[in-house]
Subunit: 342 residues, 4 copies
C-alpha cells in the first residue's frame, strides 16, 4: 500500500481527494492536516465520508508527513512552497494542487501571485502534471505541479490544433465557464447562493491567474509565444468547466481525425463524434475530459468544446492520476467510476 | 458472473442501474430493452456511460430475457405485470422497480393505479424489497417489488418508533420533499426547468400513490392500521429525498439508542449523532439512508429527519442490494462508493 | 412626500426596501446608513438600482434620521433597540425589520436572542406589524415590529382555523421551507452555493428564534397557550417560503369558506380555489400570501399550504404596507406589481 | 386607453407581456387568444396574474382582433405571417415577437426556418424593432418585427464598435449564454430540470437561427457583410442572456467614451463604469441592457460584456417599448421597474 498524506484537507479539493482515494485499491491515507480543524474527524466535517474514513485532522507535523510515500498539498497558494523542500529532502514525493509550482518563470509567478517565491530553484525541477503532455516526466518526478482547472480544459482543447500547426496562434480565444466550487469553501459574501444563484457573469476580464498558465502551456506546445484572450465566467451550478475555444485555420485539415488520433491512447480524454455538444454533467465526479470539434458554417475557423469536472480532471482526479504515474501504479487505478447523471 | 437484463432502460432508474452495475464486480448486463430506442447504443443516449458500456438497446424479446439469471423492470407502472409470469416460469428472478407488486391488496392497487392487475395471484408471492425489514424473504424470493422512493425514506424513519411501541400510531405525519428526477425523463411541460426551477410547492395533497404503500408498510410493522398524513413536495434540485416525520410519544424512551440499536447491523442505514440535520447531498449517488432523531423542546413529540438519494436507495441502488441478496452475493457488492459532495 | 430613512441598508431587506420604495409614488428616501459602506452609492453595491437611486450610504447620524417622518431599521438584531427611543422622542415613527420588538415578554426575548434588551419598556408599546391581525393598532402606532418571515407565513395559514375554534390547538405542526436569502448577505461558509445548492436539509430543529414568535401569535389568537412544533428547512433557491401546516379538527367545518371569508377584504392574502397547491414563484417579488386549505382523505385533519416571498410579505413589502398604514397612505400604494414568473 | 390584443398567450413571452402590461397606465388588454386554452382564465394558467387580470383565453377571431389598436403575436414561428396581412388591412398595427418578419431576404428566411413564407412582400415593409437603431422607423411602422433575444444582446454590444469603424469586421465572435426560458414552455424532455439543471453545454454550433439575424444587423450597420461566429450555450437558470463579444481593433480608441456617447440618450441601455462585469440578475425582469467594454491586457482586441433579460429586453419588454413608440406614448411607459435582486 502506498502511504499518502494530505496537507490542508478542509476545502473542496481535499474532500474530493478523500472521496477518490477511498476507492483506490492500493493507497491508504495516513495523515490529513488542518490547523483549524485539528482533532476533528474528517467525516464530521464532510458527512459523505461517514463510514469510509475514521481518520481525524491533525496539526501539520513534519515528521508524520516525512513518513509518507507521497504528500498532496490541497492548500492555498503560497503554502506548499514553504514545506516542499523539506519533504523532498526526506525522500517524499509531492503533488501540489495549488499554483506554487505551475509557472516556469519566477518573475511571472511573483507578479500574478503577488508574493515572493520561497524556493524558486524548484520551479525548474517541478513537472507540470498534465499527463497528456508530460507523462514520461511525471513518472520520474519528485515534485509535480497539478494543473489549474481552466488550464486543463483549455490546453487539452487547443493541443491537437497547435501541435499540428493548422491554426493561427496569434489570436486564440478561450471563453471559459466554471461552476462555483472552483472558488473554494472559504466564507465569502460574493459566493453566497443568494449572490451567484440564478445569475451569470464574467469575471477577471482584465487578467486572471490562469491566463499566464494557459499561455505557458500553449506557448511550450507551439514552440513560440501565442496570443491568447481568456475570459472566465461563473456558472450558477456547483461542478463543471466548459471551455469554448476559438481559432482561425491556416490550412485545411480533417480536424475530427486530428483530435481522435491525438487522444487515441489517452484513458481520460474522450473525443466525441462529429456534431456533438458535450455537457458538463457527462463528466460530473469523474476524471474525464470530453471534447468536440466544430467548423461552424461560413467561417475559416474552428470551435472546440471541452468539458471537465473542475474538482476531478481539473484538480483531485488529475492529482490521483499523477500519483499513479509517480508511484508506478496503473494510471487508471481508482479512477474508473461512471459520471453521475442526472 | 450473474447475467442480468434490464427492461425499459431509457429512464433515470435505467441509467442509474447501468451506472451502478458498471462498478459491480460479479454482474454483467447482457440485454437492455427499449422499443423506442432499439438499436441505439446506451452510451449515445447517456454520455456518462461512454467507455463503460458497448451495449445497445434492443426490442424486448422473451427468449433473450429468459436467458438471464435476473431481470430488472425499469418500466412505467403496468408493464412488468404482463411479462413477469412468463419470466418466472422460465426460472428467471425478477425485480420490479415500478409499483406493480408493491401493494398486497389487489383492490387497493387497482384503485390507486387505475388499471386492472394482470396477475393478482403474484401479489402474495412478491416480496417487498426493503432489506431492513424483509432480508430473509428477499434472499429466497423469485419476485421482488422494489420499494418507492418516498416509502423507503419514510418507512426507515418511522420503523424503530413503531416497532418499539413508543409512539401513537393514529396520527403520523410524513412531510416529504423530493428532487425532480423522481418525476422521470418523459417530456412534460410541468417539469421543465422554467417551471420548477427556483420554486417550491406541495403536490398531490389529496392523495399520492405512495400513500397506500407507506401506510401498508407502517401498518404491517404496527400489526394494525396506522393513521397517516403524507404530503409530498417538489424541490428545485435533481436528486434527493428528505422526509420530515412527526409523531407523538406514548412513553419516555431513549430515542437515539433506539435508532442506533435498530440499525446497528444495517450496512445502508446510518443513524447520525444527536442534534444532527442530515443533508440530501450527503447521500448523493449512494445507497444510503441517513437518519437523525429529535425531541424538540416543549412537546411530547418526536421529529425524525431521513434522507436518501431517490434514484439510489430509493430505486436503482436498493434494486442492486436486493439483487445481491437474491443471487447470494455480498449484500454490499458494487455499492461502496462515497457520495458526491459538493 | 413622506421622507423616510433606512438604517443598515446593505443587506437583502435593505435593497428590497429600496426596490419597492423606488416605485412608491408618495415616498422619498432621504437617507440610508451604513458604517462600512459610507460614501458608496447604493447603486454601486446593488446594480439593479442604477438609474433609480442617486443616493449614497452615509454613516448613521441621529440628526439626519430625526429629520425623517419614518425610519426603517434593516439592521441585525440588537441594533434598533439602541436608537429607537431617541427617534421616538424626536417624533419619528419607526418600523424595525429585525426582531428587537417582536416578543412581548422581555425574558423570552432575552433567552432567545441571548442579549439584554436595551428598552424593555417599549415592548409593550410596540405593535406587531401583521396588518391582517393588527391593522387598527398599526395605523396609530409610533413603533411597529415587522414580523419575521416564517411567522408571517405560518400565522396567516393557521389564523382562520384558530379564530374559528375548529382545530385542536395542543398539537400544531409547522413544517416550513425557506430560500437562502433568508440567511442574509453576510459572508458565511455554510451559505455558499457550493454548500447549499442542489441539497436540502432541516435546521435548528431543537429550537429556532421564530418558534416563540409564531407561538406568541397563535396563542394570542387562541386566547391561551398553543402547542406547536416548528421545523425550518433550507431550500436550494433564493426567494420564497412555503409553510405546510398540520392540525387536527375538533369539528366539521367548511374550511374553504372559512378561509375565503376571513381574508375576503385583505388586499395581500389570496385564498386559492379548492385543490390548489401554491407555488413560491407565484409570489416572487410581491407582497402576497397565497394559501390553499386541504382535508386529505382518510384523516380528521387539515393541511394548509401558505407561500410568501420571504423578502417581501416576509420583510420589506410588509414593512411598506405598515408604513402606508402608519402614514395614512393607501395601504396598497407601491405594492401593486405582478410576481415574476417564470 | 390603447386597446391591444395578444395572439398566442400561453407561453413565456405571453405571460411576460401580460405582466408588463398590467403595470402600463395607458394600455388595456382586450383579447388574448389560445386555441388549446380557450375559455380558461389567464390567471388560472399563470397564478402570478391572479388579481391583476380577469380575462380568459379565447379562440382566435379575426373580428375581435381587428377591433384592437395593436396586436402582439406571441406565437410559434410561421403563425403570424398568416394573419398579419388581414390585420394590417383592417388598420391594426402589429408587433410580431416571433421570427416571421425579422430577416430581409425571403430566401434566407425560408432556408433557416424551413418553410415557405406566406407574405414575403411584407418583409420589406416590416421594421426591425430595435429602437436603438430604428427608432424613427418604428414610430411610423404598421408592422414591427421584434428582435430575437440573442440578436438584441449581441447587436447592442457590437454596435458602437462597428459604427465607429474601430474593429475588424471580418472576424467577430459572439459567445452567448441563455437561461432556459428562451426555449419556451412546450413539453420537452431535453428541457426538463433533470436534464438541464446543474449542467452547461453549447448547442447548435453548426448553425442557430439567430445567426443570420445577428449577421444581418451587424452587416447593415457596417454597410457590408461581416464575418461572424455565433455559439449559443444553455445556462442552468431561468432568465438572462450574457453575450461575451470578441473583436480585434483596427485602431486605438477610447472605447469607454465610445460606448457612453453612443448610448447617452438611450433609456434602456446602461454602459457600466470601466472594469465592470455585468450580472444577468442586474436586469432580471426589466427592460435593460447593461454593457461593459474591456481591453484585456496584452492583446489588440476588445471584449464586450452585454446582459439582458431574454424575456424582457429580449422579448416582451422590447415589444412594449416598440408599442409605446408606435402608439405615440412615452417610450418608457410601463417599463420603469427595478430589477429583482437577489
Amino acid at each position: 500500500m502506498v502511504k499518502v498524506g494530505i496537507v490542508g484537507g478542509t476545502g473542496y479539493t481535499g474532500v474530493e481527494l478523500l472521496r477518490l482515494l477511498a476507492g483506490h485499491p492500493q493507497v491508504g491515507v495516513s495523515v490529513i492536516t488542518s490547523r483549524s480543524e485539528a482533532g476533528r474527524p474528517v467525516a464530521d466535517l464532510f458527512p459523505n465520508l461517514r463510514g469510509h474514513f475514521d481518520i481525524a485532522y491533525s496539526a501539520p507535523d513534519a515528521k508524520t508527513l516525512a513518513a509518507c510515500d507521497l504528500v498532496f498539498f490541497a492548500t492555498p497558494n503560497g503554502t506548499a512552497m514553504k514545506l516542499v523542500p523539506g519533504l523532498l529532502d526526506a525522500g517524499v514525493k509531492v503533488i501540489d494542487l495549488a499554483a506554487d509550482f505551475r509557472l516556469r518563470e519566477v518573475t511571472v509567478w511573483e507578479k500574478w501571485y503577488a508574493m515572493q517565491h520561497a524556493c524558486p530553484d524548484l520551479l525548474e525541477e517541478a513537472v507540470y502534471g498534465l499527463p497528456e503532455v508530460n507523462r514520461e516526466a511525471i513518472t520520474k518526478a519528485r515534485l509535480v505541479a497539478n494543473p489549474g482547472c481552466y488550464p486543463t480544459a483549455a490546453t487539452l482543447g487547443f493541443l491537437p490544433l497547435i501541435e499540428s500547426g493548422v491554426i493561427d496562434i496569434d489570436n486564440l480565444i478561450a471563453d471559459c465557464k466554471s461552476g462555483v466550487s472552483g472558488a473554494g469553501r472559504g466564507a465569502s459574501a460574493p459566493m453566497l447562493m443568494g449572490e451567484v444563484g440564478e445569475s451569470f457573469k464574467a469575471y477577471a476580464v482584465p487578467g486572471h491567474r490562469h491566463l499566464p498558465e494557459i499561455r505557458q502551456n500553449l506557448s511550450e506546445c507551439a514552440g513560440e509565444p501565442v496570443g491568447l484572450t481568456f475570459v472566465p465566467h461563473l456558472l450558477p451550478m456547483i461542478r463543471g468547466i466548459h471551455a469554448t475555444l476559438y481559432a482561425q485555420l491556416n490550412e485545411e485539415a480533417d480536424l475530427q481525425a486530428l483530435f481522435e488520433q491525438r487522444y487515441a491512447a489517452e484513458p481520460f480524454v474522450d473525443v466525441l463524434p462529429p456534431g456533438s455538444h458535450p455537457e458538463t454533467r457527462s463528466v460530473r465526479g469523474v476524471n474525464q475530459c470530453r471534447i468536440a470539434v466544430h467548423r461552424p458554417q461560413g467561417w475559416d475557423g474552428v470551435v472546440v468544446l471541452s468539458v471537465i469536472d473542475n474538482l476531478v480532471k481539473g484538480a483531485a482526479g488529475q492529482a490521483v492520476q499523477n500519483m499513479n504515474l509517480m508511484m508506478g501504479l496503473e494510471e487508471t487505478a481508482g479512477l474508473g467510476a461512471v459520471a453521475l447523471l442526472p
